[in-house]
């Protein structure tokens, strides 16, 4: 018999995450919207609430709670702020490659500090020459003695400026088919965050460019085997990156539905609340069905991940479904709000802008379909 319910303990995790989001993130939403910058207060609170420690095993100073707990946390935070949810999920995305492919020394060096929030993580793959086509990237490295010299730029990188420990994917200058991942640290000479983007949605999540010019990277910062970096980067993005997007999308879907129900119950037209009208009810039903389906897809994949099973396909399906559903939900929410939906005081206009940034993050919907087709045809 399949049990689709969360355990009592998982329900308590959800409660803790919700309390956190309502007390520590909600008060900062306005500021994040206005400045577009990540909130230091939110980061500090996330660290204090041990949210950077969720997926790190206890032996490395983490809580060892796994991916379902992580999904719950990202989902609850995203209900209040997708930007904060995205920032949190990318902290996890920066942790995952070290967790899965790091040597024992690397794990001992980085994971405890990442767990405590003394280091903040991120992963950088996308460049102007390709995000959907990672093999088209131009960043390159060349061996110099025991070290590597890195050259290149990354763009559209979440946490570019706030993270200090970033996993970078680059290609071998001497062998165009070989890629490697490196653990880059802010402070390395020649490595810096440059331009910061001003996004129309997911404001409060720092997105920007990284540049490294003749940056010397020591041998011990090579992550995984030399030449096998694509596997490292895409492996992390495939599971944890997509999983994080699912959390953001589910949170946003739920927020859209809640706002729509509230508004529909209050708005009186033709002498009664519009929630009594069938056209409105249709939209609410659609949102609800999408939310139920999205939860099942997402939590199923997370459960597989907790068991250690391969799940990047399941996450591709979940990511595709939930991010597309979030965009539909936001549009429906705006429609239900009518003119009010276009006004800044109503959160739904923010939801719409946030929803559209979900799409191209961690792989576009079209790329998700390519992956799913491959899954079907294999």
């Amino acid at each position: 018999m399949i049990d689709f319910t969360l355990t009592e303990e998982q329900e308590m995790f959800r409660k803790a995450a919700r309390e956190f989001a309502e007390t520590k993130v909600a008060p900062k939403v306005k500021e994040m919207e206005e400045t577009g910058k990540a909130s230091q207060a939110v980061i500090k609170a996330m660290v204090e609430a041990e949210m950077t420690a969720l997926t790190i095993p206890e032996e490395y100073g983490g809580l060892g709670l796994g991916y379902t707990a992580r999904l719950i946390a990202v989902e609850e935070v995203s209900k209040i702020s997708v930007a904060a949810g995205m920032m949190l999920q990318v902290f996890g995305l920066g942790i995952e490659p070290i967790l899965k492919f790091g040597s024992e020394e690397q794990k001992k060096k980085y994971l405890p500090e990442l767990a405590k929030g003394e280091r903040l993580g991120g992963t950088a793959v996308t460049e102007t020459t390709g995000g959907s086509d990672p093999a088209g990237l131009r960043s390159s490295y060349i061996k110099d003695g025991n070290d590597y010299i890195l050259n290149g730029r990354k763009c559209f990188i979440t946490n570019s400026h706030i993270a200090d420990t970033i996993i970078i994917l680059a290609r071998d200058e001497e062998d165009p088919k070989a890629f490697s991942t490196f653990i880059m640290e802010k402070g390395m000479e020649g490595f810096k965050a440059t331009h910061e983007e001003n996004k129309v949605g997911m404001r409060g999540c720092n997105t920007g460019e990284l540049a490294y010019e003749n940056c010397r990277v020591p041998q011990e910062n090579l992550l995984g085997a030399e030449g096998k970096g694509m596997r490292v980067a895409l492996g992390a993005i495939g599971d944890v990156g997509r999983g994080g997007m699912v959390g953001c999308a589910l949170g946003l879907q739920a927020a859209c539905l809640e706002a729509s129900v509230k508004f529909a119950n209050e708005r009186i037209l033709y002498g009664k609340p519009i929630s009594s009208l069938q056209t409105i009810q249709n939209k609410l039903a659609d949102m609800k069905i999408d939310l139920e389906a999205g939860c099942l897809l997402g939590y199923r994949a997370a459960a597989m991940q907790d068991k250690g099973e391969r799940c990047s396909n399941e996450f591709a399906a979940a990511k595709y479904f939930t991010t597309e559903a979030a965009q539909r939900a936001a549009k429906m929410a705006i429609d239900i709000h009518g003119g009010y939906g276009c006004m800044e005081e109503y959160a739904v206009s923010r939801y719409l802008r946030d929803a559209f940034v979900l799409g191209p993050s961690a792989g576009t919907s079209d790329i998700m379909k390519v992956i799913i087709a491959r899954w079907v045809l294999s």
């Binding site: 009592e8 303990e9 308590m12 995790f13 409660k15 803790a16 309390e19 956190f20 007390t23 609430a49 041990e50 949210m51 420690a53 969720l54 809580l63 709670l65 707990a69």
Partner: protein
């Protein structure tokens, strides 16, 4: 080691409690599925216990009387940092008024054993009588201070606390063991933490029924309650509302006009 017992109650979520209504025909309660949550002021009682534990050497036991779902709030208190939990659950305890509730809790506390400080929220958001704390104290034959809003001296046999009175406070000196009921002003409760939830895995919750407490049926539950509900009636309103419409400006103007016309402003 200071032994603290915190009495907590599972109440219908105040945000949804309005959904529980009286059926005007059958005169009973229509309980929709309103979830039970930890009574808000009890969080302040828990927080007081946790702060005492951090400052002195203390052991915190959580006690609650309620149906099995109340076990979740006991677990929540363990996750917040309490050490041990007890749930008094038995059909025989059902339908208790404040007197029978206090009696049952007092018996539970006696069963738990030694105690120095008993903390309760000042009142619950559903019954809201404020009676249970003082009545527990009477049954245990110990003193009580209600509406505590500040602990002034608290590291010895004699404590000094400030109790809230209208427009001020009462400075009270009391010898332990004692009961303290607390106000929202006393502290700011901490929120649940992930590591607290993990630590709670190893903590024990014991459920006791009437047999374990060893009390006669007539002393608990509805049978042990001196008061009973004799009637439930729906309230009829005597006012007929006029909803003022228009644009925001128009509504404001019209309202002011009405108030001026009726001579109240």
């Amino acid at each position: 080691m200071l032994k603290i017992v915190v009495c907590v109650k599972a109440v219908p979520d105040p945000k949804e409690a309005h959904k529980i209504k009286i059926d005007p025909v059958t005169k009973t309660l229509i309980r929709s599925s309103v979830p039970l949550v930890l009574n808000l002021i009890d969080k302040n009682a828990m927080e007081a216990a946790l702060q005492l534990k951090e400052q002195l050497d203390a052991h915190i036991t959580v006690l609650s009387m309620g149906p099995p779902p109340a076990g979740n709030i006991v677990k929540e208190c363990l996750a917040l940092g309490a050490d041990r939990g007890y749930l008094l659950a038995d059909q025989a305890f059902g339908g208790a008024d404040a007197y029978a509730t206090a009696y049952t809790l007092a018996k539970g506390i006696e069963q738990i054993g030694a105690y120095d400080v008993i903390l309760c929220g000042m009142a619950s958001s559903d019954g809201s009588t404020e009676w249970v704390g003082p009545e527990i104290a009477t049954f245990l034959k110990i003193p009580v201070v209600t509406r505590v809003k500040e602990l002034v001296e608290y590291d010895g046999q004699w404590w000094k606390v400030k109790a809230d009175v209208e427009n001020g406070y009462r400075l009270v000196q009391v010898k332990l063991p004692a009961v303290f009921t607390v106000t929202r002003e006393l502290n700011t409760p901490r929120t649940l933490s992930f590591s607290g939830i993990i630590k709670a895995r190893k903590k024990e919750i014991t459920s006791w029924g009437i047999n374990q407490l060893g009390v006669p049926e007539e002393t608990v539950g509805q049978k042990g309650s001196p008061t009973i509900v004799s009637n439930l009636a729906a309230i009829e309103s005597k006012r007929e509302v006029e909803i003022i419409t228009g644009t925001r400006e128009e509504k404001a103007e019209r309202l002011v006009q009405k108030l001026a016309d009726t001579g109240v402003i």
